[in-house]
């Protein structure tokens, strides 16, 4: 069996199956045709989702990976097929998402000759991948695939590119199954010095006003239970980064909400009052910290992370705890006495009440006026009970979805965080329907939907049960909000002339409806959730609505606008 000679393309199929791959997002083309030919015989085991644009393949693979925890796989051709995946690759790099992009490439003998659809994908993607490799011989396929998956999923996950020359797809080689389980030059999980755990426990255990910051690292490590035990033992309030949102249930009494630019007022204020800041699996992005020079200056900072390059990158920390946070959190929790920080916890209520009165209630339960984005998200959360996977596009839809969705399960929030990629939402939601069984709701704006609207064709073909909630305000809303705050309301190219989205959905055979009245919203949402298969619910929302509160870029983290009447211009 091992001596049987197979084509490189066939070896790729077998190697993917050996990795447990069961779905591929792809688009065929000249330089990947031998692989597609081999795939034809494997199509019952490797479900191929034909996207309508390769960018969609990359984002769908991301959506799949984010909900399932497994590497998402893309299959594309050389040249433009390959370059179309780059936005998704960069997005996956920023958000530590494991995807494996397999691209066709011209034959090795033509490399460097500017052959038809030749493009140096490996060099282009080196800065935005965890690893990029060219396969030039059929005999190298099995080892390269195993190595790619090992690198993508271990340690801090990330995207990997395999650039597969056409000759290597067609040449014959024996299939020797490979199982890469270690690489000499790659340490996925740094060793945790025992003294770091002891020091962390002493510092955290001695805190009078501890605050825990929860990042996506918790989700990536599968450490949701360990995190919950840790915050409960410490009795400390916790805040989540955008991507950390579903790592701790929304309803948990210690979960104070989201951090950062559009985060909870109480969390951002208390960041400047806590005495020990415990950051878990997060990277102190500028959207979290505001002005780094004044960020939590008073606090001792402890940073748990699997990637040593994150320590002291943006914010100087007092103690770094390298390692897998599932293990390090568990170890530190064992060393902690049961905490009691009732007074500190309760001190969050004042700012939380202020935010509820001035921002949350008026936006989520308005009595009159046009429909608000916040109330649509709140309504969807009421209907789903927080049971759905929430996928977002980027912009106001994303921030409202993040603020007002309710999460009960790990890996139930999918959003483009670091890159802020408009057009991410629709294909990522398609991917999410393949990565888990539950309902998938997409919040998307009229700008972002049009960036990857062609993927409605994929939804049609796959009957992907994506519930699309289109928050249509006829604006590129987030940019418009910034123009209102920082550019004297000069709405430079943010008004959107929109097509008839119901007709577009209809053309793809996707049931659609539009809500313009408050009274019919709840029923329309319930109808959408009950429907089998895909659905488009367009909601005509207030045109000039603002995401609040807001920490304006560069401001101190506790300096937040509560109304848009405050002048953001200094």
């Amino acid at each position: 069996m091992q001596n049987e000679l197979l084509t490189g393309a066939e070896i790729l199929m077998r190697s993917l199956e050996a990795e447990g791959v069961d779905v591929l997002f792809g688009y065929p083309g000249g330089a990947i045709m031998p692989v597609y030919d081999a795939l034809y015989d494997h199509r019952d085991r490797l479900h191929h989702v034909l996207v309508r644009h390769e960018q969609g393949a990359a984002h769908a693979a991301e959506g799949y990976a984010r909900v399932s925890g497994r590497a998402g796989v893309c299959l594309v051709t050389s040249g433009p097929g390959a370059t179309n995946t780059i936005t998704g690759i960069a997005d996956a790099m920023m958000d530590s998402t494991p995807i494996v992009v397999i691209s066709g490439q011209v034959g090795a003998q033509l490399l460097g000759s500017d052959a038809f659809q030749e493009c140096d994908l490996v060099d282009i993607t080196q800065p935005i991948t965890k690893w990029a490799c060219q396969i030039r011989r059929a005999a190298d396929v099995a080892a390269a695939v195993s190595r790619a998956f090992y690198i993508a999923r271990t340690g801090r996950p990330g995207p990997v590119v395999l650039d597969f020359t056409k000759n290597a797809q067609t040449e014959l080689a024996p299939y020797v199954p490979a199982r890469v389980e270690a690489i000499r030059s790659y340490v996925p999980e740094p060793a945790t010095p025992p003294e770091a755990l002891e020091q962390a426990a002493a510092l955290i255990g001695g805190a009078a006003r501890p605050l825990v910051l929860v990042g996506q690292g918790v989700t990536l490590a599968g450490a949701e239970e360990e995190l919950r035990s840790f915050v409960e033992r410490l009795d400390a309030p916790a805040g989540c980064t955008l991507l950390g949102l579903s790592a701790l249930p929304t309803g948990h009494p210690l979960n104070m909400g989201m951090l950062g630019m559009h985060g909870a007022l109480a969390l951002n204020r208390k960041t400047q009052e806590c005495d020990v800041l415990v950051a878990v699996g997060m990277r102190f992005d500028d959207r979290i910290t505001g002005n780094v020079a004044t960020y939590a200056r008073q606090a001792m900072k402890v940073h748990f992370d699997i990637d040593p390059a994150e320590f002291n990158k943006n914010v100087r920390v007092d103690l770094a705890v390298p390692g897998d946070c599932r293990k390090t959190l568990r170890a530190v929790t064992e060393l902690l006495p049961q905490g009691d920080h009732r007074a500190w916890r309760e001190s969050f209520a004042e700012a939380a009440d202020e935010e509820r009165r001035t921002v949350v209630d008026p936006q989520t339960h308005p009595a009159t006026g046009p429909l608000r984005m916040a109330e649509v998200v709140r309504c969807v959360a009421d209907v789903t009970g927080g049971d759905a996977v929430v996928v977002t596009d980027v912009g106001q839809n994303q921030m409202f979805a993040a603020r007002y969705s309710r999460f009960t399960k790990p890996r139930s929030f999918v959003s483009s965080g670091g890159m802020g990629t408009m057009g991410f939402g629709l294909p990522a939601a398609i991917g999410a329907t393949f990565g888990q069984e539950g309902p998938v709701v997409l919040f998307v704006g009229d700008g972002g939907l049009q960036m990857t609207v062609e993927e409605l064709g994929t939804i049609m073909e796959q009957s992907s049960p994506v519930k699309i909630v289109l928050l249509n305000n006829n604006y590129l809303g987030n940019v418009r909000q910034w123009q209102a705050l920082f550019f004297h309301r000069r709405y430079s190219f943010t008004p959107m002339l929109n097509p008839d989205y119901e007709k577009i959905a209809e053309a793809y055979g996707i049931p659609a409806t539009t809500v313009t009245e408050r009274g019919s919203l709840a029923e329309a949402v319930a109808l959408m959730m009950r429907a089998h298969g895909p659905y488009l619910l367009q909601v005509a929302v207030m045109e000039e609505d603002n995401v609040l509160p807001m920490c304006c870029p560069g401001n101190d983290v506790d300096d937040m606008l509560l109304t848009a009447d405050d002048d953001g211009l200094q």
Binding site: Q126, W131, A132, I151, A182, R184, S185, P308, A309, N312
Partner: protein, 184 residues
């Protein structure tokens, strides 16, 4: 507030794979740190490449930069050093006009005093070779240039060995090989 910058030397070991140098220099570009000199060559260990890179940066930047380089999959190890922690050396060649050399005795005197060796002489030009600390190598160039006799000048990147008494890479590789064998 400008942070204080210093001259640092990075010593990097990588697997001998295509494209590693590119990935390493890319990290410098992103962090806006200029590379002053760069040397890449096989190390004493089979299949392992060694890079010596000097640059000016503040310590926060150089620490993060080093970790970001070490994070690259094919990079085995990256460390940064200050001047007192390493022994450095540079090599240079000076091509000078032979008529000038013969006409001005000060030129050959300077070459001798500053440790240059004349390795080739013909009627048109002579070649001087010198190794030493970067400032010494540059010092000879400045002296010759002042005489107006330099036709060409080239200096290699700095190479460096650590002054540490432990051979950390060898020990580290042994550990890693062991870890890979036992599948950890």
């Amino acid at each position: 507030m400008e942070k204080e910058t210093k001259l640092y030397t990075l010593i990097i070991f990588s697997e001998n794979r295509a494209g590693v140098l590119n990935q390493v220099t890319n990290v410098f570009t992103r962090r806006q740190v200029n590379i002053e000199s760069l040397n890449a060559s096989p190390s004493g260990i089979d299949g392992v490449h060694r890079y010596t890179i000097t640059c000016r940066a503040d310590e926060d930047a150089i620490r993060t930069l080093t970790l970001q380089i070490e994070k690259k999959i094919d990079v085995i190890r990256a460390d940064y050093f200050e001047k007192n922690e390493i022994y450095v050396m540079e090599q240079a060649l000076y091509k000078i006009a032979t008529p000038a050399l013969l006409a001005d005795k000060e030129i050959s005197k300077a070459i001798r005093l500053l440790g240059g060796r004349i390795v080739e002489v013909n009627p048109a030009y002579s070649i001087v070779s010198k190794e030493g600390l970067p400032e010494e190598v540059r010092g000879l160039y400045d002296r010759l240039q002042a005489k107006g006799c330099v036709l060409q000048y080239v200096s290699s990147g700095v190479i460096a060995v650590t002054k540490s008494r432990r051979e950390e890479l060898a020990e580290y590789l042994q550990q890693r090989d062991e870890a890979c064998r036992t599948g950890r």
